[in-house]
């Protein structure tokens, strides 16, 4: 494996990790506020569809992005209504959202475009194009640093940079601001927030809305940046892997970055190599493909430190007296 190959694998790691990272951060906001969300998958899916459909219709990827965020926000609002206002079961609401998105995208896709659930291929301004950072061309010939900068760091779509910037931004928001303090408190002990005279409902809705927006970004990235158009079930479980990454990351932004990069790397490796020859033994591709899931089971079994979820997670808040 030479240096160029490593750069290529890492480059594709970043691209594959981006939707995971966006979805993982999305889940982080919701779950830190005490609202479990297994509907990340559905929100990403509907956002991917809405983005691709709007971009195909208008020719503008930015309008597509807006449409994706809007669609995802609608589902997030539904989840909020069910689990915050009506105090329903958050898992069931999440499952319902996944089913809804899965059915709706295919139905509307077929109705509007007649391509078996796919949207037309996007090109030009209807897609997020890679951005070449300044000096990428001139630094490229420099050994080691050149390829790292021009191929690994430069040349991604804007959403990749947004996703990575969101990590420090989220860490700052959660740990350094009033909103973050209240958000974390509401996921741990909503009664403490309530008796302090702050609305539990308001904060949880705000968190769920942020989740909706971030899932919108994740979905839009899938269909307008990573791929050129929507295909049915194109999220392929990414929302669930993001949830696993969230647990792995112990609900923390920087850990989330690391966890998503790890999962992205596993995916990049499994795409690049059909099987890995270690000399004495062949690792079949199925094993690398299964690794994220195996890893998740190992994490959940508590082998790698204990992941303590937000204490009030999954429980609707009801005033005690």
């Amino acid at each position: 494996m030479d240096f160029a190959t490593i750069i290529q694998i890492l480059d594709s790691t970043v691209r594959l990790a981006t939707p995971l990272l966006l979805a993982c951060l999305a889940g982080l906001y919701s779950e830190r506020s005490g609202v479990f969300d297994i509907g990340l998958e559905g929100k990403m899916l509907i956002a991917a569809f809405a983005s691709a459909a709007a971009a195909a219709a208008t020719g503008s990827v930015w309008l597509g992005l807006l449409a994706g965020i809007f669609a995802s926000l609608m589902l997030a609002g539904l989840h909020g209504l069910a689990s915050i206002t009506f105090r329903g079961n958050q898992l069931i609401s999440g499952v319902a959202i996944n089913f809804l998105a899965s059915g709706l995208t295919v139905l509307l896709g077929q109705k509007w475009f007649g391509l078996g659930g796919r949207t037309p291929s996007l090109e030009g301004a209807a897609r997020f194009e890679p951005i070449t950072l300044p000096f990428a061309g001139s630094i490229a010939p420099v050994p080691v640093l050149g390829p790292i900068y021009s191929e690994l760091i430069s040349g991604h779509s804007i959403l990749v940079y947004v996703a990575i910037a969101l990590v420090p931004a989220s860490a700052w928001l959660l740990y350094r601001t009033r909103f973050g303090l209240r958000l974390r408190a509401v996921g741990e002990n909503p009664a403490a927030v309530d008796t302090a005279g702050v609305s539990v409902t308001g904060i949880r809705y705000a968190a769920v809305a942020i989740t909706g927006i971030l899932c919108g970004l994740a979905g839009a990235y899938l269909s307008t940046a990573l791929a050129a158009g929507f295909g049915r079930e194109m999220t392929a479980g990414k929302g669930f892997i993001a949830l696993a990454a969230l647990i792995f990351a112990k609900w923390r932004p920087w850990y989330a970055l690391a966890a998503c990069m790890l999962f992205g790397l596993l995916e990049a490796v499994s795409i690049r190599y059909q099987s890995i020859d270690l000399g004495f033994v062949m690792i079949p591709v199925q094993f690398t493909q299964a690794l994220p899931y195996i890893l998740t089971v190992v994490i959940l079994a508590g082998f790698i430190g204990k992941a303590v979820p937000p204490r009030a997670g999954g429980e609707p808040y009801v005033k005690e007296r």
Partner: protein
């Protein structure tokens, strides 16, 4: 004596810090508060005492904006102040220390203090200010807590201080404390009362809600008594006595001291040797317990909740497993095998009134008669045939037990959850005592039970002892242990710190043992 107008320490010319006028609140058909009026003078400690269900908590919830009163008004510093939500209560200068703390366990003290009272969107400034304010408050009122400690690492007493600090940080002038000493050691409680007196002397007004007469007598300036939703009296503490207050609370004369003859212990019934128990996390909860109880004797286990008393009851009652030796009437009991369950223990002659009656003692949605049979549902008198139970017999038995134990209302078909705490406990006690066990395990027999029922339950326990049975009494109420037990063992951190005789010890000595100071040093 309805709406009394006793002003505390100050002249009546000054406006009252807080005044309630004709507060009423009903939940469906239940009138929780009926035309309540109180006046609390500025800079005084005012006690509100009453049995469970007398309406104390409802009244305080109205004051803190959790409930809206059906009628009446709240006057603060001479101004009518509506309190529709907690925000308004805080703005009106009311701070509340709840019985169950409202703290975020994995936040620091500082973060908890500023939560909801932050200045601006960025935390750094609020944290810096709070650090300074906390340091000042600590100096002024003995309220020292490490501002950077996580709540989950603090003792209960310190957590309570954080709650007080939260209120003071919000510039509360009126501090309401709801049953503040339930979770404290005697020393911690004394410290709390010192803090409260300090706050009063600085002009703060304190409302102390409790059911402990001793606390009222020691700390308050004036006291209001509530009974069944009404305010029956407001008196100066100096001019009343515990006996009078108890009578006002219950509405009849009550014996505060348990009347019992000296014990006449017989043969050894229970022997526990080197008993060890680990919880599901693998933490050792009992670290080698040794004790004996003889027939006709009540052994009281004192200690702050969570020092292994629950585990001791559970192993003896067949709910948890352990290692060591337990002998009942000289016969060794199975601690880990097939015969270590509750059913076998009952067959062996151990009856168990568990600490949490709503979780372990009763099935709340089931009727009283079903609950009366639980655990003894295999008893021959409850069977009609090999397959069918004789429900009529159980109902008749339930009626009989309800009559003997004065359960009100005496309706066997009523669900357990519809009885008051005291009557629920009577159902459990009736079920266990009526089986005439050799050994009775009782955990917190009077937790959440009103004074009238306490008296009754205590009498039953003493009667069982006088009938030559052994009783193991676990209680966090030191008063209860002191008055009921013939011998007192104090538990701390899974060990017995020492044994004392009730007439040869005092609360101070027991309090030290409860805090882990060893018997020899004490």
């Amino acid at each position: 004596m309805g709406g009394a107008d006793i002003s505390g320490r100050q002249s009546s010319a000054a406006p009252f810090a807080i005044e309630l006028r004709g507060i009423s609140k009903a939940f469906g058909p239940v009138q929780a508060n009926k035309d309540i009026s109180i006046q609390v003078a500025k800079g005084s400690i005012h006690g509100i005492i009453g049995e469970n269900g007398a309406g104390k908590s409802t009244l305080m919830s109205i004051l803190y904006g959790f409930y809206k009163a059906d009628a009446g008004e709240i006057v603060i510093d001479g101004k009518v102040t509506p309190i529709p939500d907690s925000q308004s209560a805080i703005r009106a200068g009311i701070g509340m220390v709840f019985q169950h703390f409202k703290l975020v366990q994995n936040f620091t003290v500082l973060e908890n203090v500023i939560l909801g009272a932050e200045e601006g969107g960025i935390l750094a400034r609020s944290l810096a200010r709070a650090r300074k304010v906390l340091a000042d408050l600590a100096r002024e009122y003995e309220l020292d807590v490490d501002p950077d400690a996580l709540i989950e690492d603090l003792s209960v007493g310190h957590q309570q201080r954080v709650e007080i600090l939260k209120a003071l940080y919000r510039q509360a002038d009126i501090l309401i404390l709801d049953e503040p000493t339930g979770v404290l050691t005697p020393a911690e409680a004394d410290h709390l009362f010192r803090i409260l007196k300090g706050l009063r002397d600085q002009g703060k007004t304190i409302i102390l809600i409790t059911h402990k007469l001793r606390e009222i007598m020691e700390t308050t300036d004036t006291v209001s008594v509530m009974r069944r939703g009404t305010m029956v009296a407001t008196v100066r503490t100096a001019e009343t006595s515990p006996e009078e207050l108890a009578e006002l609370m219950v509405g009849r004369k009550v014996l505060l001291q348990v009347e019992k003859a000296p014990a006449t212990p017989g043969k050894t019934v229970l022997e526990v040797e080197n008993l060890r128990v680990r919880d599901t996390q693998g933490v050792e909860r009992l670290k080698g317990i040794n004790l004996t109880i003889r027939a006709g004797e009540i052994l009281g286990i004192a200690g702050v909740a969570g020092n292994g008393q629950s585990e001791l009851l559970e192993v003896l009652g067949g709910i948890a497993r352990g290692i060591g030796t337990i002998r009942l009437n000289g016969r060794e009991l199975d601690l880990t095998g097939r015969h270590s369950d509750g059913q076998s223990r009952r067959a062996d002659g151990i009856a168990h009134v568990p600490e949490d009656r709503q979780v372990l003692g009763l099935i709340m949605d089931f009727t009283a008669w079903e609950n009366v049979a639980f655990g003894y549902h295999h008893a021959p008198e409850y069977q009609k045939s090999a397959l069918l139970m004789d429900n009529d017999a159980i109902r008749a038995d339930c009626e009989k037990k309800m009559a003997t134990f004065d359960v009100r209302p005496p309706i066997p078909t009523l669900a357990a959850k519809n009885f008051s705490g005291g009557n629920q406990q009577k159902i459990v006690v009736a079920r266990e005592i009526e089986r005439n066990p050799d050994l009775l395990l009782v955990g917190q027999p009077t937790r959440g039970v009103d004074i009238g029922a306490i008296e009754f339950i205590h009498k039953q326990i003493v009667a069982l002892r006088d009938a030559g049975k052994a009783v193991l009494l676990v209680s966090v109420e030191l008063d209860e242990i002191m008055s009921l037990a013939d011998r007192i063992a104090v538990m701390f951190d899974g060990r017995i710190m020492g044994e004392r005789l009730p007439d040869q010890t005092n609360e101070r000595e027991l309090g030290l043992l409860m805090a882990g100071v060893s018997g020899e040093a004490a």
